[in-house]
């Protein structure tokens, strides 16, 4: 006699054979309270077994073979250009052009400033006095600093 659990596990997969059904009947005769549940089990197995197949397109196999062929072609011809570079190259080129333009504009700006400063210095040098006039400038300035305090004694005698 099969264990009822074994029979149940068989029944989950397929309807019981004649021998197995006879075994089950013998077991149910001794356990009539389980009859209703076993009937439901049998009915369920049969219902699930009878579920219709899902319709499959007639060209399904052809589509699979086509997809496999596409896969073969893709494997045989790996891409030569790295997709990363392919997508980033235009962006990098654009950034380089913008950067070069910026540097050129900065260079032009500084050159123009330097030229303007040189022209200003030249203009001032034309109106300024001869540098020889200023040769004792430091000594005179020093003398002024020492004579800052008035000579009180001399001022008193003069009065």
């Amino acid at each position: 006699m099969n264990d009822p659990q074994k029979l149940r596990e068989i029944l989950w997969r397929r309807p019981l054979s004649a021998d197995e059904t006879a075994e089950l009947r013998a077991w149910l005769a001794a356990n009539p309270e389980a009859r209703a549940d076993w009937e439901l089990e049998e009915h369920l197995t049969e219902s699930v077994r009878r579920l219709p197949d899902v319709p499959v397109s007639s060209n399904f196999t052809a589509r699979v073979l086509q997809a496999v062929d596409r896969e073969k072609v893709r494997e045989a011809n790996p891409k030569r250009v790295n997709p990363f570079w392919k997508s980033w190259l235009p962006r990098i080129a654009f950034s380089a052009v913008v950067l070069c333009g910026g540097l050129f504009a900065y260079h032009q700006h500084t050159t123009a400033q330097r030229l303007e400063r040189a022209q200003n210095v030249a203009a001032i040098s034309e109106v300024a006095p001869d540098p020889a006039v200023l040769k004792d400038f430091d000594a005179i300035r020093h003398l002024n600093r020492t004579a800052v305090a008035p000579d009180e004694e001399l001022l008193a005698l003069l009065q």
């Binding site: 596990e9 369920l44 219902s47 699930v48 009878r50 899902v54 399904f60 997809a67």
Partner: protein, 203 residues
């Protein structure tokens, strides 16, 4: 060893050597069970075919790595289940609105349902169709692992041990999943199962 080789594994070894006819034979043999499994998991016929196509392309691409350690069908259904799980995850990240879904602005209006007063005793074929639809609905409500376990049960070539390999759990856990799934089905289908509709001729 050679005489014990699974015939599908033998075909797969031929595929490994580039035999397209062997691959076609495998596709022809397994397209129906694979599409059945995927359709009853995703409930979308077009999606099921596309995903089944990916399953077979994956089989072809992995042919080089195929080892005759397990039965081919176990390996195939494992790939199919993994792709289904990926699709379920993708759908949960990007949910699409169902055209059948009730829109908020129409929420207060009940769905139209017309009772057929004439037809008191529906013909068996109608009941059979209703039962099939109901089974599909209840299967869809089950947790994924219980549903897959029940669907794999229909594949007679898979043993319980092989089913547990596909499901990635122990033998006892697999049987427990089947038991719990069947208990839910029995509970929800009881009124239909008791009518004897299931006895009708197989369509």
């Amino acid at each position: 060893m050679a005489e014990n080789l699974d015939p599908d594994a033998a075909l797969m070894l031929r595929v490994k050597q580039g035999d397209a006819a062997a691959f076609t034979e495998l596709v022809e043999k397994y397209k129906q069970p694979v599409i059945n499994l995927i359709y009853r998991t995703l409930r979308d016929a077009t999606e099921a075919e596309d995903l089944a196509q990916n399953v077979f392309v994956q089989v072809y691409k992995s042919a080089d790595r195929y080892r005759v350690a397990a039965k081919f069908s176990t390996w195939l259904f494992t790939i199919a289940r993994n792709l289904c799980l990926n699709e379920i995850r993708r759908r949960s990240r990007h949910p699409a609105d169902s055209l059948d879904a009730v829109h908020p602005e129409h929420e207060d209006q009940p769905l139209q349902q017309f009772e057929d007063r004439k037809n008191f005793a529906p013909p068996d074929s109608l009941l059979q169709g209703e039962l099939e639809q109901k089974i599909d609905e209840v299967l869809a409500e089950l947790p994924e692992n219980q549903r897959t376990a029940l669907l794999l049960c229909r594949q007679e070539e898979l043993s319980y041990e092989e089913m547990s390999e596909v499901l990635g759990c122990s033998l006892s856990a697999t049987k427990s999943l089947i038991h719990r799934g069947r208990e839910t089905l029995k509970e929800k289908l009881k009124p239909y199962l008791r009518t004897g509709v299931w006895k009708g001729p197989k369509s």
